[in-house]
């Protein structure tokens, strides 16, 4: 079982990069078990073919324009995801859509797909998120962790697993 949590977005266009910020926040907060990878996809396209080939579960974190209030977190699963990308609501739909199409054609698509998106407030140049969107990053991370848990993959907060190991060693 291989799981990829993919953050995509342009980190020099403020809220555009929220997917990457959320992926990094998840990586910092949780110990990743064997078989779970976090990838900072940036705005890459075909470079992602290799890391995404044959994964069992792909969780995409991204900025999405769904005409909701800025900071609204949305969740889509399974077949809704490619349809969503095709209807051009995500700023990155072209490259990620092409990657998914190529994987599909090659017979290697992700078996299960989840998209966790956040409506951006600003797409201006800048390396920081706006406060409206920044405060939603924990919600995106929690949603991703919840989606994994629903599929039997439990992520432990950083430190907890090693603390338990310490205890069992000293016992």
């Amino acid at each position: 079982m291989r799981t990829v949590i993919l953050g995509i977005g342009n980190t020099i266009l403020s809220d555009e990069g929220v997917g990457v910020h959320a992926a990094e926040a998840l990586r910092a907060a949780y110990d990743l078990p064997e078989g779970v990878d976090v990838i900072d996809g940036g705005t890459a396209g075909m470079e992602l073919l290799d890391p995404l080939a044959g994964v069992d579960l792909l969780v995409v974190l991204d900025a999405v324009k769904a005409k909701r209030a800025p900071g609204t977190v949305i969740l889509l699963t399974g077949k809704e995801v490619p349809v969503f990308f095709r209807s051009k609501l995500s700023p990155h739909q072209v490259s990620i859509c092409d990657v998914l199409a190529s994987l599909e054609f090659a017979g290697d698509p992700p078996k299960d797909l989840v998209l966790i998106g956040c409506e951006p407030l600003s797409l201006e140049l800048g390396t920081e998120l706006t406060p409206t969107v920044a405060e939603k990053v924990p919600e995106m991370v929690a949603a991703a962790v919840g989606q994994l848990a629903a599929r039997g993959i439990v992520l432990e907060p950083v430190g907890r697993a090693s603390a338990r190991q310490q205890r069992s060693l000293s016992a």
Binding site: I12, G42, L125
Partner: protein, 566 residues
């Protein structure tokens, strides 16, 4: 009254591109290329530590991240006149070349082949005849009849399942599609094989760059790879051997599949050697430095004026004045104040938006010139400059490609055919073959140098008080890329990126001369104005790293048709 076609972008990856054409009598009469997004990355960089610039600039573009990282450190090193250890040059060279090979394979098979290949037509192919044709051209092991039968079955299942729609860029059944069903099936088979092969190039970048996308191993002064032959946690024998294995697999595919497929497509689309030449001043920078100072290069570069190879003037070193003094950027037709061309060190970025004015300002891109002339950059410029410089490997592969085209087209096709839309594809394949061999050479140089006991990969930069300036260039997959930096007391004071897409997609310059895209689209035939595939063929032959949606507006009845395209 002709029709006006507008090709407008939908991504913000590298900046939007919009193409407008006036079409009359089945031909493009006039074209405008317009960058639709202000890419003011310099604003983010002002006041920052120059050692951090590479990490930020590699976020400019999603398709070519490594190239900005490499160019940025070269610019800062140039300002400091800092030497780069040999191992670091070789490791960077391996990353540069693996990235280029990856980019070229993916561009041809996955991003542009569908401009020429009709996937649906492949369903009519005889797989056994496809195999016979393929085996007559190449010794590649993936051309057997069972392979072709399996690909046809898979394609049939895909089309029958209604999944073809996931390709956002299909022009199935367009009248400009000319390949026989068997060649279409062969292209589909190689499309799938290329998906697998391109991963090997990516693996080389990830092993050396520690991370892909967005490599993490470059630094001003070298690379951060630790080398030790007896350790598993550093760049040691095991990793080096893995890289060599990937290089060999890439070389097999590039020489026995890619180079031949491009020649075959070229032979069937021989009419496209007449279209798309555009600006025939060719600029390429040298790359793959072989010493610590950047005075010797494996890949020559320079400038060719008006398609005359005899006029070739080389760019020789990272400090070459011929290069440094030749570059200017004009803003007469760009949404910036002023109209006078300025050198990048003096570059200004003061926006002055006017709306789209056909005869005035119409683009966020500036208009770069080389000694006052527009210049084309990219694989065609690279290959022509290498030929003009007498580069033997380039001669070998260019001759091989043209011989294959001549044999298939049953007529002699010479070098002159390269100044065209299809010629840019051929040049990209020739360049890829040269670069995949160079990849093996650089690997050997690295191994030999480590074998001598040299494990140095980094020279620490020291920033002086006061103002210094430097430029770094890199022959990226899409052509000459340069960063220009002014540093004051160790902080960035000015930063300008002159990217390949700016050279090629620029608006008219100070003298109203059109840029390469604009010039190359003029005279292209248009069979069906509602589906202007021909314009896309020419624009895509430059490998723009953007996706477009086409809105065709019929001026007579005002109807708008949207055709998505990549």
């Amino acid at each position: 009254m002709g029709q006006r076609i507008t090709i407008d972008p939908i991504t913000r990856i590298e900046g939007h591109l919009r193409i407008d054409c006036e079409v009359d009598g089945g031909k493009v009469k006039k074209a405008w290329s317009s960058g639709q997004m202000w890419r003011g990355v310099e604003l983010i960089l002002l006041g920052r530590d120059p050692r951090d610039a590479w990490a930020i600039t590699q976020r400019i573009c999603g398709v070519c991240t490594t190239v900005h990282a490499i160019t940025s450190v070269r610019a800062v090193e140039n300002a400091l006149q800092l030497e780069v250890p040999l191992n670091a040059q070789y490791i960077r060279n391996l990353i540069i070349l693996a990235h280029a090979v990856h980019d070229h394979i993916v561009h041809f098979y996955h991003l542009s082949a569908l401009d020429w290949v009709d996937v649906v037509s492949a369903l009519k192919a005889d797989p056994d005849a496809t195999s016979r044709l393929a085996e007559s051209l190449s010794s590649w092991q993936g051309n057997g009849k069972y392979e072709m039968r399996a690909v046809k079955e898979r394609l049939k299942g895909f089309v029958d399942g209604g999944q073809l729609g996931i390709f956002t860029n299909g022009y199935w059944g367009h009248p400009a599609m000319k390949l026989p069903p068997e060649v279409n099936l062969l292209a589909v088979a190689h499309y799938l094989q290329a998906l697998d092969v391109q991963r090997k190039a990516n693996k080389i970048v990830s092993i050396l760059g520690s991370k892909t996308p967005h490599i993490q191993n470059v630094a001003v002064g070298g690379v951060s790879n630790a080398i030790a032959t007896d350790s598993y946690s550093t760049l040691g024998v095991e990793r080096l051997l893995a890289i060599k294995g990937y290089i060999d697999e890439l070389a097999d595919f590039v020489k026995n599949v890619y180079l031949i497929d491009v020649a075959a497509v070229g032979a069937f689309y021989a009419d496209w050697t007449k279209y798309g030449a555009g600006v025939t001043n060719y600029l390429a920078v040298p790359d793959i430095p072989l010493d610590t100072k950047g005075t010797k290069f494996a890949l020559p570069g320079g400038y060719i004026a008006n398609k005359d190879l005899a006029s070739f003037k080389p760019i020789k070193t990272f400090n070459d004045e011929f290069w440094v003094k030749g570059v200017e950027e004009a803003t007469k037709h760009s949404w910036y104040e002023g109209s006078k061309a300025l050198h990048p060190y003096k570059g200004e970025t003061k926006p002055q938006y006017t709306d789209f004015k056909d005869d005035g300002k119409y683009s966020w891109l500036k208009s770069p010139t080389f000694y006052g002339k527009p210049a084309q950059v990219g694989p065609l410029s690279r290959v022509l400059c290498m030929l003009a410089a007498g580069h033997e490997p380039t001669k070998k592969y260019a001759t091989a490609a043209l011989d294959t085209v001549s044999a298939l087209a049953k007529t002699k096709v010479g070098l002159d055919a390269m100044h065209s839309t299809i010629g840019r594809h051929a040049a990209r394949a020739v360049s890829c073959a040269v670069q995949v061999d160079m990849l093996a050479d650089q690997w050997q140089l690295l191994v030999n140098n480590i074998g001598k006991g040299d494990v140095t990969t980094f020279n620490a930069p020291v920033f002086p008080k006061g103002e210094i300036q430097g430029q770094g260039y890199h022959e990226a997959p899409r052509g000459a890329l340069s960063h220009w930096v002014v540093i004051d007391n160790g902080k960035i004071k000015n930063y300008q990126c002159v990217v390949p897409s700016t050279w090629n997609a620029c608006p008219r310059n100070e003298k109203d001369e059109p840029g390469p895209y604009e010039a190359s689209i003029a005279d292209n035939p248009i069979a069906d104005p509602e589906r202007p595939l021909e314009v896309l063929r020419t624009v895509h032959s430059f490998d723009p790293c953007i996706a477009c949606a086409i809105h065709v507006t019929d001026t007579e009845n005002g109807s708008a048709i949207t055709v998505k395209a990549k």
